[in-house]
């Protein structure tokens, strides 16, 4: 029963090899889906490209439903995985900083790595910026960030339990919201497609 590595059912070398192979799939899909194209990534915020919404939420729902089923079948125990603890204050503030970084920088850390590998010069610069930011954070951690990063600690919180509904119902409602968002963003994209230049559309490969 999974997860294998945390229960010592997989030796460390194989675990890292599998990580490398999963990474290859991750990078391949990001590039193949168009996530190395900054204009496509930014497009989700302006409505002219719905790719991010479609890929992102299809991935999230596939994993969410898949893990829910596997957990209930006893094939994987999700509670034994690296389950993110919630610290709502730093995640909210950090998320806002990341949102600003997304609009200014045009990438996020994963997509920039894929983009750099495919030859995007701006992605190399972005990655340099990420390292500068992380190093700056570390060097100032003791006297600026430590208290804030540990604020709002809630522990391992399942959102369905937190709201007070059954997990299955939460997933069902989220699926409906996802499908509606696909339709809305597709219509938004279609309204742009009519008024965009051919060169823009070729660039986006809408």
């Amino acid at each position: 029963m999974g997860p294998l590595y945390p229960q010592e059912l997989l030796n460390p070398e194989y675990n890292l090899l599998i990580g490398f192979l999963i990474g290859i799939g991750f990078g391949f899909l990001l590039e193949a889906a168009g996530f190395t194209n900054t204009r496509k990534l930014a497009g989700v915020f302006y409505g002219y490209d719905a790719t991010v919404i479609k890929v992102f939420f299809t991935a999230a729902m596939t994993a969410l439903i898949g893990l829910f089923i596997l957990h209930n079948m006893g094939i994987i125990d999700v509670t034994l995985t690296f389950y993110p603890k919630t610290f709502w204050i730093p995640t909210l503030i950090g998320g806002a900083i990341m949102g600003l970084g997304f609009i200014i920088g045009g990438f996020c850390p994963g997509t920039s790595l894929s983009a750099a590998a495919s030859g995007k010069i701006d992605a190399w610069v972005f990655i340099s910026g990420v390292f500068i930011g992380i190093l700056g954070f570390i060097f100032t951690y003791d006297f600026i960030w430590e208290g804030l990063r540990k604020a709002g600690k809630m522990g391992k919180i399942d959102i369905a339990q937190w709201i007070g509904i059954k997990e299955g119902l939460f997933i069902f409602l989220l699926t409906i919201i996802t499908v509606i968002s696909f339709i809305v963003f597709q219509k938004w994209q279609d309204s742009w497609t009519k008024k965009m230049d051919k060169s823009d559309l070729d660039d986006l490969g809408l």
């Binding site: 990078g27 590039e31 889906a33 730093p90 920088g105 850390p109 994963g110 500068i132």
Partner: protein
Amino acid sequence: MKIQRNKYINSYVAGFFLGLLIIAAYYFAGEGLGSSGGYRDVAIGVINTVAPEYAHQNAFVAPHVNSDEGPMHTWLVYELLGVIFGALISAAIFGRLKWTIGKAPHITNKKRLYLALIGGVLWGIGTQLGRGCTSGLVLSGMAVNSLSGYIGLIAIFGFGFLFAFIFRKLWINTKN
């Protein structure tokens, strides 16, 4: 007018397989797909090599440098090496392997590179404060129904839409 609609693979197909990879990551390693954690491990590895004494004093770095294998020998770092290879393979197959700068046509190259640098710095800070990025915090967090992932989702995309409106001239030509 012929619109190229076959340039990238189908978004739903890509998303489905990405979802399967997240399940595989949790099944084998007990980890979600992440990116910023790997960046952090590399940064900590560099600090530990250059200034090992400082690494043991800094409250953020110290917990990561106690293992025998070294702070860069982590699942996330190997996963990120894979991401680089995977993107390289895809770009080569689809004929997109070339040096370019991705930007809206009305933005100069120089401006784009400055903005990319600033954006990167913001991500560097935001990910370490917020405990992950779009993949590790939000996508992998949502996959296990973690509240943290949904807070990250709302913060990154919610504020993203707000900042997108404020800085709309960076991406869309508002004269149209």
